[in-house]
């Protein structure tokens, strides 16, 4: 039985009513700002120029989008490459990270947890240049495998920490139950771990995919600019071009995330909205 239901339904716990009103109001305000933000991006991307003190672009003519489609800049190809790489990185790191996270919880020595944190204490210059040296010597530089390998180092570390630290104790109880009933390791994974852990798996996979999708540093350095990821196509515009093209690039980068996250939110909502 879920712990939170032993004392009544989760809905029955509310700290105090005024906090809920403030929080709800805050949520709607944040949502309004969120929509305004997206709205500003859309408007800026549709126009040319944005001289002060206008709230809208100087000319709303869709020129950046027309230029994009006319210029044959390979956005579709870059998107598919990024999608493929991020799917693979997310899958590899989620599988390995889940396996490692479970193992890490049993481990006596915490040096293994320390190792999982290490990628995040590397400075960007070390990551870029030193990993490039290693990738050249391994024959992975400027290859898809090299980019996947480099991104997986970080994604795997993150997923490992995530599973290790957010583990649901109910899963451990189920593991004991399954073992007690004579289940082997496969049964443990199949009947105890995976059914309960799948929301964690979805979150971990999504975060790992995101990291890969949005990565610019590793794909530009390890990939040598040869791997045509979406971030390579768009990042130069974000820093160097007009505010309109920067807005267009921003939308191209996070629009697919928006769609996939709406879908993922339904999956997660079903876990948090009802008892399993």
């Amino acid at each position: 039985m879920n712990a939170s239901t032993s004392q009544g339904s989760p809905e029955s716990w509310q700290p105090y009513s005024w906090s809920m009103r403030i929080v709800k109001l805050g949520l709607f305000l944040v949502f309004a700002i969120f929509l305004l933000n997206i709205g500003t991006l859309v408007l800026l991307s549709l126009g040319s120029g944005w001289s002060y003190p206008r709230l809208l672009p100087d000319q709303v003519d869709g020129v950046p989008w027309m230029n994009l489609f006319q210029s044959r800049s390979g956005i579709l190809r870059s998107s598919l490459v990024s999608l493929g790489i991020s799917s693979i990185v997310a899958s590899v790191s989620t599988i390995l990270g889940l396996w490692t996270g479970v193992g890490l919880r049993r481990a006596r020595s915490k040096v293994w947890l320390y190792i999982a944190y290490l990628p995040f204490v590397l400075s960007p210059v070390t990551v870029g240049l030193c990993l490039l040296d290693m990738s050249i010597r391994l024959g992975l530089a400027s290859t898809y495998s090299g980019v996947i390998w480099a991104q997986s180092i970080f994604a795997y570390g993150f997923v490992t920490i995530f599973f290790c630290e957010t583990w649901d104790v109910q899963i451990d109880k189920r593991v004991h139950l399954v073992r007690g009933l004579g289940g082997n390791s496969i049964d443990v994974w199949r009947h105890a771990i995976l059914p309960r852990a799948w929301p964690l798996i979805v979150v971990a996979w999504t975060q790992a995919a995101l990291f890969s999708w949005l990565d610019y540093g590793l794909v530009s350095v390890i990939g040598g600019g040869v791997i045509p990821s979406l971030t390579l196509s768009m990042f130069a515009y974000l820093r160097e071009a007009s505010v309109n093209q920067a807005a267009q690039s921003a939308m191209i980068l996070f629009l697919p995330s928006l769609i996939s996250f709406v879908i993922a939110s339904f999956l997660l909502r079903s876990k948090w909205g009802k008892e399993v």
Binding site: S51, S71, T94, I95, L129, I136, S145, W198, V226, A236
Partner: protein, 409 residues
């Protein structure tokens, strides 16, 4: 459902292991030292040539991806791929590749100049000399000191000139009726209009400082030749004293500077400042058309002169397709490609060709390039052109600007 999800994840993992490496194949060995142009262009046919260049300007990208790529495909059966990268990214990449012993790289042609050329020569990372092999080399204005010398270093055939530009000040003519013409007038103007002027912390800003440094060193030609520590010290002390006078009246009181010229253009567009600048004198026209700069933007150069320089293309020593790189470089310096990029609506980049060496038809085309509306004609600006000083000056200016201006209280 969980079983299917697990199967999917496992399949994805297996696919990743089987992913094939994508690596350019090394070209067939053609002895480039003895091969003639017919052999080179024949060997290049059907190849993919990768060019690494700065890709932050959509007009330049369009010129390369739409015009150059289609022309080299049609004329030479070359597939052009553009890779974004410049400056220190390029240098770090080749530095590490050569250190790790990577004999066959993945980039065939690079867009470089100045300090990047200097650093790549230090690393012995460039193939050459090669410009003599290019048939269109005969049109290049090699007598022009702004072309045969790059940051006071002879090019020596290790890079091929591609374009020529001069640093210009840009201002909003709707707010500034009489822009300052020299450093004294600039100081006066900045004091009368506090917070309305600044320069960036990047390449363009340093080029602006170099232009002023010439003034403090004694004028035009005063910084020509190899780096002179004593001359630099004497001139830079005066430069920093001048900038310290400007500093309290600069945008944000000089406590911070825009990181690059793109940010500076945005400040001008927003009306936060009245001046911007660019290394390309023709940029004001194409940026105004793009809506990056206001319609009322105009460009000019200081009476004391501004830096003029050329930009080049080079071939890395470990380029896998040197023949294809040579064919592409040759096309980039052809009269038709040079003329195409000279028009402001395409790029507005100056040509490196000597007009008197061209056919009369091309000569008259170059002399009447349309669309240059917001800045004086190039021959007028060239009268106030200063040579790029030695690369050590750029290195020192960058370091000293940080220590003497940014970090000073």
């Amino acid at each position: 459902m969980m079983r299917n999800l697990l199967k999917l994840l496992l399949c994805a993992a297996l696919v990743s292991l089987g992913f094939s490496c994508k690596r350019p194949e090394p070209a067939l060995e053609l002895n480039l030292d003895s091969a003639d142009w017919d052999q080179i262009s024949t060997a290049a046919r059907g190849r993919t040539v990768r060019m690494m260049m700065w890709d932050g300007d959509p007009l330049i990208n369009a010129y390369m991806r739409d015009y150059v790529a289609s022309q080299v495909k049609e004329q030479f059966d070359l597939q052009l791929e553009i890779i974004g990268g410049q400056g220190n990214v390029l240098v770090n990449k080749f530095m590490l590749e050569l250190d790790a012993g990577r004999k066959v790289g993945d980039i065939d042609l690079v867009w470089i100049n100045g300090e990047t050329f200097y650093q790549l020569r230090q690393l012995k990372a460039l193939y050459g000399p090669f410009t003599d092999k290019l048939p269109n080399n005969r049109y290049i204005d090699w007598k022009n000191p702004f072309i045969h010398t790059d940051f006071q270093q002879p090019v020596d055939g290790y890079e091929c000139p591609w374009g020529n530009v001069q640093m210009a000040m840009i201002y909003d003519s709707s707010r500034v009726t009489t822009p300052p013409k020299n450093k004294e007038e600039l100081l006066e103007w900045v004091k009368q209009n506090p917070g309305r002027f600044t320069f960036d912390n990047g390449f363009t800003g340093m080029t602006f400082l170099k232009s002023l440094l010439y003034e403090f060193a004694g004028g035009r030609d005063s910084l020509n030749g190899p780096f002179d520590e004593a001359k630099y010290q004497a001139a830079s002390e005066k430069l920093w004293a001048y900038i310290q006078q400007l500093k309290p009246y600069l945008w944000k009181k000089g406590e911070t500077f825009p990181e690059g010229v793109a940010q500076l253009h945005q400040l001008l567009m927003n009306g936060e400042v009245d001046f911007s600048m660019s290394n390309n004198d023709g940029e004001v026209d194409n940026k105004a058309k793009q809506g990056v700069l206001p319609e009322t933007a105009r460009a000019y150069v200081l009476e004391s002169g501004t830096i003029r320089n050329s930009h080049y293309v080079g071939i890395p020593i470990n380029a896998p397709n040197k023949e294809a790189a040579l064919v592409l470089a040759n096309f980039l310096i052809s009269p038709e490609a040079q003329f195409k990029k000279a028009t402001p609506e395409v790029w507005g980049d100056g040509t490196v060709l000597a007009l008197d060496k061209l056919e009369p038809e091309w000569k008259s085309k170059f002399e009447s390039v349309p669309g240059r509306e917001r800045v004086a004609p190039r021959p007028e600006l060239e009268l106030k052109a200063l040579l790029e000083p030695a690369p050590e000056i750029m290195i020192r200016l960058h370091e000293d600007f940080r220590k003497r201006i940014i970090e000073s209280k």
